[in-house]
Assembly symmetry: C2
Homo-oligomer: 229 residues x 2
DNA sequence: CTACTTAGCGTAAAAATGACACGAATATAA
DNA sequence: TTATATTCGTGTCATTTTTACGCTAAGTAG
């Protein structure tokens, strides 16, 4: 038991994990096994341990609840509306993450046997707590950030075609781009390595594969280059 | 006394308040009256009450410690390194604020009689806790955001000249801009109202005064217009 | 009235953007 | 083997935007 002179909130982390399939941007949700909001869907998350950095807690919870590790993750926002959790005062530090969905097609049904499922961002079920607000914040952040930082690559496989890349931007930003102009623009940046390799097993002309050149990006960024789609 | 089954962190807010004088970007610091870090400087802040939204807490602390209210403020980041505060486990939700410095030339020496002072961001004293890291995060955020959102106006008086506006951007971004190009660009946006009024009491040709057109910005933003300097 | 300081303005070259369509490559089905 | 279906990969031109650049006008102080 722990006793304090003044009341203290609980602090949790919640993780919004985005993944991309060919048609949709998806997020991972977990079905709650217990009240409150039993049976409804929520983002994975849990308590921050007393001597744990919130970044670590977010990664730990994600690993525990979904088996996912080693992804791009960044802090999103901290939610502190007083009655956001009916069980008491809970402040949640939200994170969002981008994963290469191909690696995680079947999310593990988690250690504590909850159901985890990917949902299209365009077709979310009703969410527990204030998770709809958290989602809105995350999606807005992603839409804003993807255009000015090369984080979109985190959603694609290591090797990707220019069409896949364009498709990813179209799905996230929500409007279509001109193919020729897109290619000109992205290639001109010099951030893609042409792997001199082609797709396998597609039922049509195979496209060339590229890879994001992280080293080059760091170099250019240091010189003041600004990524922009 | 309050007793819990598991240990809980304290949660605080810290506020980085930026103000602009003609030569410098400044931040408001408070000299600590007690250990730890007695005598060194820190950002104003304090505990979040148990039923208080962190946004409210940030505004309240700022009002209490500096007398400042009614400013632009937004959440910055949440800092949770386990030993960031030697007194125990303290998680801090940091906010940054922009004020019209002219209104607050002399910060109130605060309710609890601490010394508050404006420091140039280029000449900060040693800061308490992890406040240097918090400052770095805030400054970086400001530098990034000022170019894509019209928040810079929050640092200027209601009525300002184009030179003052340009000067603000030069100070924050840290490089000089071409006068003619800057004017063309900003005027073309149609976000400035020409007040048909001139500066008073300057020892040289007086410049025209302008005002930021918030209504117009909201209208344009809704139509997909993107502010950019 | 002179000296000093800042305001206010336009043009031309270069670069980026936006609109637009078709032949090449490859797999599958007939 | 031939036809069909699908995606790949590419260039030009008009328009817009960005960049570079320097002088006169206006007003105050001495």
């Amino acid at each position: 038991m722990y006793t304090y002179e003044y009341p203290r909130p609980s602090v949790t982390v919640d993780c919004i994990i985005f993944g991309l399939d060919n048609e949709d941007l998806k997020v991972l949700l977990i079905q709650r096994g217990q009240p409150p909001f039993q049976g409804s869907w929520a983002f994975p998350g849990g308590f921050v341990n007393i001597d744990e950095h919130a970044d670590i807690a977010a990664k730990r919870e994600l690993q525990e609840e979904t088996g996912i590790s080693d992804m791009y993750m960044e802090q999103l926002y901290t939610f502190s509306t007083p009655n956001r959790d009916p069980r008491g005062r809970v402040i949640s530090i939200a994170y969002y993450a981008l994963v290469k969905l191909s690696n995680f097609a079947k999310p593990q049904a988690a250690s504590d046997a909850q159901r985890a499922e990917w949902f299209s961002v365009n077709d979310l079920p009703e969410l527990a707590f204030d998770h709809q607000e958290i989602f809105d914040t995350a999606f807005q952040r992603l839409q804003g950030k993807v255009r000015y930082q090369p984080i979109g690559f985190e959603l694609l496989p290591e090797k990707f075609t220019l069409s896949q890349l364009q498709n990813m931007y179209e799905i996230i930003i929500g409007k279509s781009l001109d193919k020729r102009n897109f290619r000109k623009k992205i290639l001109r940046m010099g951030l893609l390595i042409d792997l001199e390799e082609r797709q396998q097993g597609v039922p049509h002309r195979a496209a060339k594969l590229f890879k994001f050149d992280k080293i080059m990006y760091q170099k250019l960024e240091a010189e003041g280059f600004a990524f922009e789609i």
